[in-house]
Amino acid sequence: MLRLLRTASFRFTLIYVLVFAGSVALLGAFIYQQTFGSAEQEVDRVIDGEFQVLAEVFAKEGPAALRRATQDRAAWRDGGIYMLIGAPSGVPLAGNLTALPPEALTADAGFFNFTFERPRADALGKEAGVEIRQGRAKIRRFRASPDAENFFLVFIARDVSDRERLRERTSRLILQLAFATIALGLVIGLAFSHSLMRQVDAVNKTARAISTGDLSKRIALTGAGDELENLAMNLNGMLDQIERLMNGMKEVSDNIAHDLRSPLTRIRNRLTEALNADPAAKDEAVRATLAEAESMIGTFNALLSIARIESGEGAGAMELVDIVAIAQEMAELYEPAAQEAGFALVLKTEAAPPVRGSRALISQALANLLDNALKYAVGGTTIEISVRKSQKGYVRLAVADDGPGVPPGDREHIFQRFVRLESSRSTQGSGLGLSLVAAIARAHGAALKVDAGGLGGSQPGLSIALVFPPRARA
């Protein structure tokens, strides 16, 4: 619970509730002022008006007329309360109140509130006890002349009980409303914070599980499609990538262990034997060991390159590169080698927009594809490098041959590390060339397409293409 109160969402709710309750109170005060502020003044004005009328009657027609007028008004029963008292004798002369309220004795010239008793009428109009009512009054002295000793105390009041009751009810209502707003806000805020905290807790729990080593954990999605789910999806995506990289690293170390252990064993055996061998055999052992070391270094470098490219490192700066230019340069570099191996190296390009990438990596990929074709397109006659542009702006860099090709079922395996298809076991190579191509394609967001060569001839051939996304989407 205490934790709940400390959550950011609860803090926000609290601020929101306070602001909202404040505006409710302000609104209440406004309504109150508008409704009762003017009503009070209205009562005061009526009372002053009555004084004025009575004062005129007194001035023009004298005490008897004042008494009569007071009596008349008291009889009207329109809520007006009147009392005329002769002073200093204190004899009540007219009015509908039995005695002056005690508040009148201490009152000064202004308005004051007082309570009085009135017979209560029940539903049938019969008297049923008394009720306490509230009034608002003013008291004034009427003198015949400024220095006259005798004067009249004139007490005029209005019954304001109904209005007072309404006022009380209204202010109570406004207060209740304000409290209800606060209470409701707090409850909703707590519920809201609780639900938010639960979702954040789910994320935290997953994160803790992952940091203790379980990389396969993912944040459960609520299906709400809100920003929290969006966050969860992004985090999950990030975790997928991390897991992929971790698995890649693990695979690399597994591969290193697998692929370097056997040559190391051979080296040790050879050297052990060489210890007791004759000089000629020793020389031979050293030469073989050297060759083995060279090939291990090659394997090792290729593995490291793949791992670094896959981790997004080592790609150098991604810049705009001209695939056609790279294809031309590589064609020129490989043309003599292809010719010597009995292939015609054909270059087919069309104008293509530049691609965001690394010249070094793309040329490396192309070199590996060409090496691959030279090595495995046995019996073929043509190797074709092609650059084509799709209407949507994709740029397709492909190397095709008319060698034996790869059966469709095996095609997806050729990019895995150390995979060397049964048919090519006898040929030299680390089995990493195409894995490196795949890693480079991934680093560029390019799709890899493997197909038959499509160059004609008696063999199916093989075509491997990197399809680079349009620049805006790369």
């Binding site: 060279e294 270094i297 090659g298 470098n301 490291l304 390159s305 670094r308 490192e313 080592g314 790609a315 150098g316 700066a317 340069e329 020129e332 570099l333 490989y334 003599p336 080698a337 010719q339 010597e340 690394s358 070094a360 040329s363 490396q364 070199a367 590996n368 060409l370 090496d371 030279l374 090595k375 190579g429 060339g433």
Partner: protein, 225 residues
């Protein structure tokens, strides 16, 4: 050449030093960056071979300091870090060449000797001659025994690079880097085939072959009996 090797791995340093001495060079060895810096300041060397990761002062800082002090002695970085960015960092710090571990000694030797030649005044010449083979870098003409030989532009650059380093061993990787500007190890014999094409144009009809293959190392162009 007087060569300063700054390398903390004692065995590697001994291996490099011995190899360079066997090739006729004078070698001094420093085991850490600070010692290396002091020796470089004090001595007059023709080339530095600097490991990138060194105790006390790393190779990049060491060379930056020498360059800032006006020392233009050519330097070759040795590094276990071999990606494009690392290479660029090395060259930015003032390195003239960059070699990634593990390397073959023949590669190291060829590159160090190429560095030494770079410093020589012959650098500014525009004509090179080996035996009766002459090239003019400005007019881009090649003659052997006075007879004009037509070369493709890339073949000319290949020959030019070899001629600039006449008498030295030039490795396949050096050729790929300097003639084609690619930094990877070709799996197949791409370079060899270019060389044999070049050879067929400049050597084939003549009695004395000038372009020679050095087994296990690379190529050299020289007029040796």
């Amino acid at each position: 050449m007087r060569i300063l090797v700054i390398e903390d791995d004692a065995e590697a340093a001994a291996f490099i030093s011995k190899g360079l001495r066997d090739a006729g060079h004078v070698v001094d060895h420093a085991v850490d960056g600070e010692t290396g810096l002091k020796m470089a300041e004090a001595g007059d060397y023709d080339a530095y071979v600097v490991d990138r990761m060194l105790p006390k002062l790393d190779g990049l800082s060491l060379l930056s300091r020498r360059r800032n002090a006006g020392d233009a002695t050519p330097a070759l970085f040795l590094s276990a870090l071999g990606e494009v960015d690392d290479r660029v960092a090395g060259l930015k710090a003032g390195g003239d060449d960059y070699l990634v571990k593990p390397y073959a000694f023949s590669e190291l030797l060829a590159r160090v000797e190429a560095l030494g030649r770079r410093r020589a005044p012959s650098n500014v010449t525009t004509r090179y001659a080996v035996g009766d083979l002459e090239i003019d870098v400005i007019t881009r003409t090649v003659r052997r025994a006075g007879k004009k030989i037509d070369l493709q532009p890339r073949e000319f650059r290949l020959l030019e690079y070899l001629m600039r380093h006449a008498g030295q061993v030039v490795t396949r990787t050096m050729l790929l880097e300097n003639v084609w500007e690619y930094h990877f190890d070709p799996q197949t014999n791409v370079i060899d085939v270019h060389i044999s094409r070049l050879r067929s144009k400049i050597d084939k009809e003549f009695e004395r072959p000038l372009l020679k293959t050095i087994r296990g190392a690379g190529y050299t162009i020289e007029d040796a009996a």
